[in-house]
């Protein structure tokens, strides 16, 4: 009885992990926040918030990152496809200039790829 329970819990944990981290997260594009003067992208507790940011395609944009996480991982934000990166100051807004980009999705992340977000150029 006990062993059935534990095995069931274990397999359920595996299934939940796979579902939650890989299968579920696909539907967030619609929630992308519009980049603007007032939009601050909060860097805190392992995530960018908002993690989907919409910018106008073909136009230079300024993003405002506010880093509240002192952990070393959060120090840099990288946009590898756009060759943009910036060192984020703690508890301050750091402006990151995004060059004009073609329409599409551009992931951004920290050095270790644990903080992840996506820039949507439309």
């Amino acid at each position: 009885m006990e062993s059935v329970l534990i095995n069931f819990l274990g397999l359920a944990a595996i299934a939940c992990t796979l579902w939650w981290f890989w299968l579920a997260p696909k539907q967030q594009k619609s929630q992308a926040a519009e980049a603007s003067e007032t939009l601050e992208i909060l860097v805190k507790d392992g995530v960018y918030e908002p993690e989907w940011v919409r910018v106008a395609a073909g136009k230079e944009t300024l993003l405002h990152f506010r880093r509240e996480d002192t952990s070393p991982c959060a120090e840099w934000v990288l946009f590898p496809d756009l060759e943009v990166s910036a060192q984020l100051a703690v508890d301050k807004v750091t402006q990151v200039k995004i060059p004009a980009a073609d329409a599409g999705e551009y992931p951004f992340h920290c050095q270790m790829q644990m903080y992840r977000g996506t820039l949507v150029a439309e």
Partner: protein, 754 residues
């Protein structure tokens, strides 16, 4: 946000275009309480406000006038200092957390090792361990709370970070132990063991590891800090005849600045008065100070050695070359290297994978392992979660690139991004533009042979040529000036296309030109053609001179080979590069230079567009081609090459477009760049290997594959320590790159054969 400051505040303005705007804004600001003086600078679109005023009020005033304004960002250097302070605070914070957590964990562990009593078999033990459990919970919350909150937030966002692993690992250990304390009867006798010490130790060790990492990271950015320190904080401006010290941020284009001996040049500008030697080695790596006089350009951050200079500011703030270099180095430092792609892919899917592996391994132990099954299951689950954190993998390339790029900047080698750095490591062919790279780029008078007095002839020719626009003419004039020969009047000056020049000097008719000119005039050449041909064979351009219808001599002009070119070519060949020379010059000249330098492959008589074709052809043949040139007319070839080395840092455009910009014209810079990139890539590979090994070995060991041999499972505490120190190891190894030195100190080799 109300911010009052007695020192003047600077704002950046938007939408300001004319003097009318300036008036409107200034008058709008004079309405603001506390404003003593408001001054708009149209040139760099800034507003300077004196007086105790609220920054927001100023911005509102500007906005009400119909323009935009924002507080000017603090200088890069100030930001960096704040960053350092923050880093230091963070470091102390981490040390405290580590100390407290270890302060609980270590005694508990010692107790366990000495007494072996970590079990719950009586109500006294239940009470005692219950108390310890609550204390541990406090420690977990206080020292490791950020792991839990981070893990939770990340979880809500469908993402998993290293916090997730730490929180799961330590949380599992604590929850299980609490279960043992509260409901021991649920578990078999052998599994009634608590793991509070593991939770506390792991949190302590990971905090400690992060503290050490923060400290080591501080060192990796040392190069940028050095560059930032080159920026002065104040400048001495001359206004209405008086010299005043003002903060550097307030210097405006057109200001006249005084720089005394021993001071740094504050902004980019041009000398208007004074003479001095300026040490530019911090930017160019060139060790010899350069003499500067009126009209010469000065770069911010360089050091004025011995004279007092007055300069007129041309570029300030972020526009200066130093700022652009800093910006470029910072960008390159955080760019990706292609080799990191694998590590990127892995770390992106790593954490959830590890969670699955951990649970699967735990289930295997539970179902098939020896007794005590429950205890083993828990240890395996915790250890796998803890040891698997991929932070070392994630840090492996960025840390090395950061140090490598910074190290390059110190040596006058500016790498644009990580890709260029990697491609520079496996070049096998280097095509070099002759003029300005292998040679000085400015023709010099090399030989003068005459019937009579050499100086007299030189003086006459220089007189004549001072009217000519031809580049070779300048060499003759310069040579005469160097000998202090006075230049006088020229009458009836005439340029004869494709032949030479003619003119009357001191009442004599002087001819200077090629053999055709002499023949056309019907002058007897005598033995001179032989001498001229001998000079031509050495790659020099020989010209015939005649005075009053008789041969007076032959002079030769050549673009001399750079004093360090031969050594640099040899060094590049030793690095395994085949060198091919490109030039628009004629074949004889080109081959003479190539012979002198030991270069076997020469492409002469080229048009600028041919250079690109040659690079492309070499690439088609399978060569990995580097191209070194001075960046302006070579631009297409530089862009075509796998790695373009722009020499001499002449223009800002070159800095922006080349893969690698060398701050001085010496080819040694290319060799330095190749060596540096090889050293960096080697370091990256060491790091990646280390991190891969660590994770690929660490996980199975934590999962218990060694159990049949050792009869023991990896303790979660050991897993925690290993995980904490893996990233410290990677960062430290990257820091070893700071010891990199180019194989040949070109500063020394300069002295020898100059």
């Amino acid at each position: 946000m109300s911010q009052r400051a007695a020192s003047p505040q600077t704002f950046r303005l938007q939408g300001v275009s004319c003097a009318g705007c300036v008036k409107k804004i200034e008058s709008a600001l004079n309405e603001v309480a506390g404003v003593e003086e408001a001054r708009v600078n149209l040139g760099d679109k800034t507003l300077l406000v004196h007086g105790p005023v609220n920054a927001q009020a100023c911005i509102r005033a500007v906005e009400s006038a119909g323009y935009g304004a924002e507080v000017a960002q603090a200088s890069a250097r100030e930001l960096r200092e704040q960053q350092r302070e923050e880093e230091h605070r963070h470091y102390r914070h981490l040390l405290w957390r580590a100390g407290i957590a270890l302060g609980l964990g270590v005694p508990l562990m010692v107790w366990g090792l000495i007494t072996g009593e970590m079990g719950v078999h009586s109500s006294v033990q239940q009470f005692a361990w219950g108390t310890v459990g609550l204390v541990t919970l406090g420690v977990l919350m206080f020292c490791g709370g950020h792991f839990f909150s981070g893990a939770w937030r990340a979880l809500l966002h469908h993402s998993a970070t290293m916090d997730t692993l730490v929180a799961l690992g330590t949380g599992t250990a604590w929850l299980f132990s609490m279960l043992v304390v509260l409901l021991p009867q649920l578990l078999p006798e052998s599994a009634r063991h608590v793991y509070f010490e593991a939770s506390a130790m792991i949190i302590g060790l990971i905090n400690l590891g992060q503290a050490l990492e923060v400290r080591a990271r501080g060192k990796t950015s040392a190069a940028v800090e050095k560059l930032l320190e080159l920026q002065d904080t104040s400048a001495r401006v001359i206004r209405s005849g008086k010299e005043v010290d003002i903060p550097i941020a307030q210097v405006q284009v057109g200001d006249r600045l005084r720089v005394r001996p021993g001071e740094k040049i504050p902004v980019d500008g041009r000398v208007v008065d004074g003479e001095s030697l300026v040490d530019e080695s911090m930017l160019t790596g060139e060790p010899v100070p350069v003499s500067k006089a009126a009209g010469d350009a000065l770069s911010a951050g360089t050091l004025n050695k011995n004279g007092s200079l007055v300069l007129s500011a041309e570029k300030v703030g972020a526009e200066t070359r130093l700022s652009q270099i800093i910006e470029m180095v910072k960008n390159a430092q955080s760019s990706r290297v292609p080799i990191a792609r694998l590590a990127d892919t892995i770390s992106a899917i790593f954490v959830p994978t590890v969670m699955v592996i951990a649970v699967a391994a735990a289930l295997i132990w539970y179902n098939f392992g020896p007794d005590p099954k429950v205890a083993h299951m828990l240890v395996v689950l915790t250890s796998v979660l803890i040891i698997a954190c991929p932070c070392a993998l994630g840090l492996a390339t960025p840390m090395s690139v950061m140090v490598g790029v910074g190290k390059g900047a110190e040596n006058g080698v500016l790498v644009r991004n990580g890709k260029a750095l990697q491609q520079a490591t496996d070049l096998d062919t280097l095509v070099v533009d002759k003029t300005g790279t292998l040679t000085e780029g400015a023709p010099k008078l090399t030989d003068i042979e005459s019937e009579g007095d050499e100086d007299e002839l030189l003086q006459r020719l220089a007189n004549l040529e001072s009217h000519s626009e031809h580049p070779l003419a300048e060499a003759i004039v310069t040579a005469a000036k160097a000998k202090n020969l006075p230049l006088g009047e020229v009458n009836n000056f005439e340029a004869i296309t494709a032949h030479g020049v003619r003119g009357d000097v001191d009442g004599k008719t002087i001819l200077l030109g090629n053999r055709k000119l002499i023949q056309r005039e019907g002058i007897e050449t005598g033995p001179w053609p032989e001498k001229a041909e001998a000079l031509a064979a050495q790659g020099r351009t020989a010209m015939y001179a005649a005075v009053d219808g008789a041969m007076a001599g032959v002079i030769a002009v050549a673009d001399p080979v750079r004093h360090d070119a031969q050594a640099a070519v040899k060094r590049l060949q030793e690095l395994g590069l085949r060198i091919e020379m490109l030039t628009g010059d004629n074949k004889a000249t080109a081959e003479a230079v190539a012979r002198q330098l030991g270069i076997e492959h020469v492409h002469a008589d080229l048009l600028p567009e041919d250079k690109e074709t040659i690079v492309a052809d070499l690439q088609k043949g399978g060569a990995r081609v580097g191209m070194a040139g001075d960046g302006i007319n070579d631009a297409p070839a530089l862009a075509r090459a796998d790695v373009g080395f722009a020499m001499g840092a002449g223009t800002d455009v070159a800095i922006e477009s080349a893969d690698v910009t060398l701050m001085r014209s010496s080819l040694h810079g290319v060799a330095d760049a190749v060596e540096l990139s090889r050293a960096t890539l080697r370091n990256i590979k060491q790091n990646l290997f280390g991190a891969f090994i660590y994770n690929t070995l660490g996980i199975p060991i934590a999962a218990g594959v060694l159990y049949p041999i050792t009869g023991m499972l990896l303790s979660p505490v050991i897993a925690g320590a290993a995980m904490a120190f893996s990233s410290v190891t990677v960062v430290s190894n990257a820091n070893r790159l700071r010891l990199f030195r180019p194989s040949q100190d070109s500063a020394k080799s300069n002295g020898g054969d100059a």
